[in-house]
């Protein structure tokens, strides 16, 4: 990693020694914060999630990657109580979460964001943020009518909200309705709001999709800081640069199953992962592939082209069969 223009961050050492035994799918962790067993969710004939065993290491940043439709978001939903699995058990900090409603899960310190953002449109950005804080005294019905009981706490929350907003480059929009945010700004708000509660585990569903790369970079530093403060992060992302940059551990899902696990460098070399997800051509210049600029196509580039063509033909055939 070279130094970057936004400045502050220094490449840091990744957390290591998170697991015991082989870094194989479902391997044991030294200090798991989440343990899931036999969690499966079917939609009609489709098995969206079918996880034999999964442990998420505490105090580390874990990336959950996998092709579109692999079941990542669905797994998030299941873990957080937004959806009920058909079978399985899972626990957070040793407490079983089966049947625990979503809000209770969040209160335990496990907060998630949504891939399709959920801004609270007719609340201001600041109010959105303040809502994220937990254990607010003024949220009790009786206390709420006596401002004296909650005013100080509310001020603290507000200060913290402003701080986070500044970091997420949303400070200028604090007084605006969340409805007026751009797509990327909503992503940012979603994530900032989740952090308001100082969760023990934050689960981010594609937090950086649609966020400007320069900003992404500074936010990643923030996440790393949070990790230093002891927070556990589990995130889904398709941006491999980001995964490589901050993830201590990577879990790969495909067709609902965990297909690989391990430190980022190892996993990304895994041929199965490359085939199913990454493609072997992360670093090929598409300008060259598409013939827009002249340059070394290279072996990888040619492969990519071929692959794509094959895939197209195969899929056309398949689609035709389907339609029959």
């Amino acid at each position: 990693m070279s130094s970057n223009a936004t400045g502050s961050s220094v490449p840091r050492a990744k957390s290591t020694g998170l697991h015991t035994g082989d870094a194989a799918p479902g391997c044991k962790k030294v200090d798991p914060i989440i343990v899931a067993d036999h969690v499966a969710r079917h939609f009609g004939g489709l098995t969206a999630v079918d996880v034999e065993h999964l442990e998420i290491p505490r105090g580390a940043i874990t990336a959950l990657i996998g092709p579109n439709g692999a079941g990542k978001t669905t797994l998030f939903n299941l873990l957080c109580g937004f959806d009920r699995p058909n079978t399985g058990s899972w626990s957070f900090n040793g407490t079983s979460l089966a049947g625990v409603p979503a809000y209770r899960v969040a209160r335990m310190g496990m907060v998630r964001t949504f891939q399709l953002t959920k801004a609270l449109s007719l609340l201001t950005v600041l109010e959105n943020m303040k809502l994220g804080a937990t254990k607010q005294r003024g949220e009790h019905l009786w206390a709420s009518v006596i401002p004296a009981l909650w005013r100080t706490q509310d001020r603290e929350i507000e200060a913290r909200a402003h701080e986070l907003l500044a970091r997420f480059k949303l400070d200028a929009k604090a007084a605006d309705y969340a409805a007026s945010l751009s797509g990327g700004q909503r992503k940012l708000l979603e994530m900032a709001r989740a952090l308001m509660g100082r969760p023990e585990l934050v689960m981010l569903d594609e937090p950086m999709a649609g966020v400007n790369p320069a900003l992404t970079q500074s936010l990643l530093d923030h996440i790393l800081e949070l990790k230093d403060e002891g927070m556990t992060v589990l995130f889904v992302e398709h941006d491999m640069h980001m995964v490589r940059h901050i993830a201590d551990w990577v879990v790969v899902m495909a067709e609902g199953r965990i297909v690989a696990e391990g430190p980022p460098e190892t996993v990304m070399q895994d041929q199965a992962v490359i085939d199913a997800y990454l493609g072997s051509h992360q670093d090929v210049d598409l300008g060259v592939v598409t013939g827009r600029i002249s340059g070394e196509l290279g072996e990888a580039g040619e492969e990519l082209l071929e692959e794509i063509e094959e895939a197209v033909e195969a899929s056309i055939e398949e689609a035709e069969e389907e339609n029959k």
Binding site: G69, Q115, D205, L215, H238, H241, L286, T290, A311, S315
Partner: protein, 236 residues
């Protein structure tokens, strides 16, 4: 297509676009990048008649299209993939694709073949409702829907967001292919590197107007642009 001195906004008195200029020659592939909230989506929406234009002009083939309703623009061969809410959740994938071809239902079979060629997953699940799709799958549906109509001008708002890396590459290559086939394409992207790699020319939009422009390569290597907009993560 030409955009001149465009001003537009949502709230009364607040202009999001403040005199934006953009030109896309026939058959060109234009990439637009910029920070969040710069007005990129607003620009596309303004071009497509979904945001009221307050000043300036938009011309397609020399004719002003300001004030035309979206469906009229579609009739003129302009296609658009919005950034958010870009599928019909309660329609099946198939129906979503049919909607893309609303004005020319006859060509359906042929276009379907073309589109499923790009996103094979979709071809297998034509009967699934789009509302139950994963984020990436939705994005594919959204792209396909716009491609169905075989437009002359294609406006894409972050088409790659949420797609897995392979799919992203596919998507870019396809966009490039489509463009090569003569479709003028304007693409907003946060996956700026990839975008700039394939586009003919790029614009950097900041605070409502075009801060930089140049060929893709120029921007890609411009240290200012890197510092402010591209970041260094992707640079290996």
């Amino acid at each position: 297509m030409q955009v001149e001195d465009l001003t537009a906004g949502y709230l009364p008195g607040v202009n999001i676009l403040t005199g934006t200029n953009l030109t896309a020659a026939k058959g060109e592939l234009i990439g637009i990048i910029g920070p969040n909230g710069a007005g990129k989506s607003t620009l596309l929406k303004a071009i497509f008649g979904m945001v009221k234009v307050r000043g300036g002009d938009i011309r397609v083939n020399g004719e002003s299209v300001v004030g035309l309703k979206s469906d009229r623009l579609v009739a003129r061969g302009i296609g658009f993939v919005p950034q958010t809410n870009n599928v019909f959740p309660s329609l099946t994938i198939e129906e979503n694709l049919q909607m893309g071809l609303y004005q020319k239902p006859r060509a359906y079979a042929e276009r379907l073949e073309f589109v499923t060629g790009i996103f094979a997953e979709l071809g297998k699940r034509l009967k699934q409702r789009a509302g139950s799709l994963s984020g990436g799958e939705r994005q594919m549906v959204a792209m396909s829907r716009a491609l169905m109509m075989d437009p002359a001008v294609l406006l894409l708002d972050e088409p790659s967001a949420g797609l897995s890396p392979v799919r992203q590459d596919d998507a870019f290559i396809r966009v490039s292919d489509i463009n090569k086939a003569g479709v003028t394409t304007i693409m907003v992207e946060q996956n700026a590197r990839r975008c700039l790699q394939i586009c003919d020319r790029g614009y950097v939009l900041d605070q409502g107007h075009d801060a930089y422009q140049g060929t893709g390569r120029e921007l890609l290597n411009d240290p200012k642009v890197i510092g402010l907009y591209l970041g260094t993560l992707g640079q290996d």
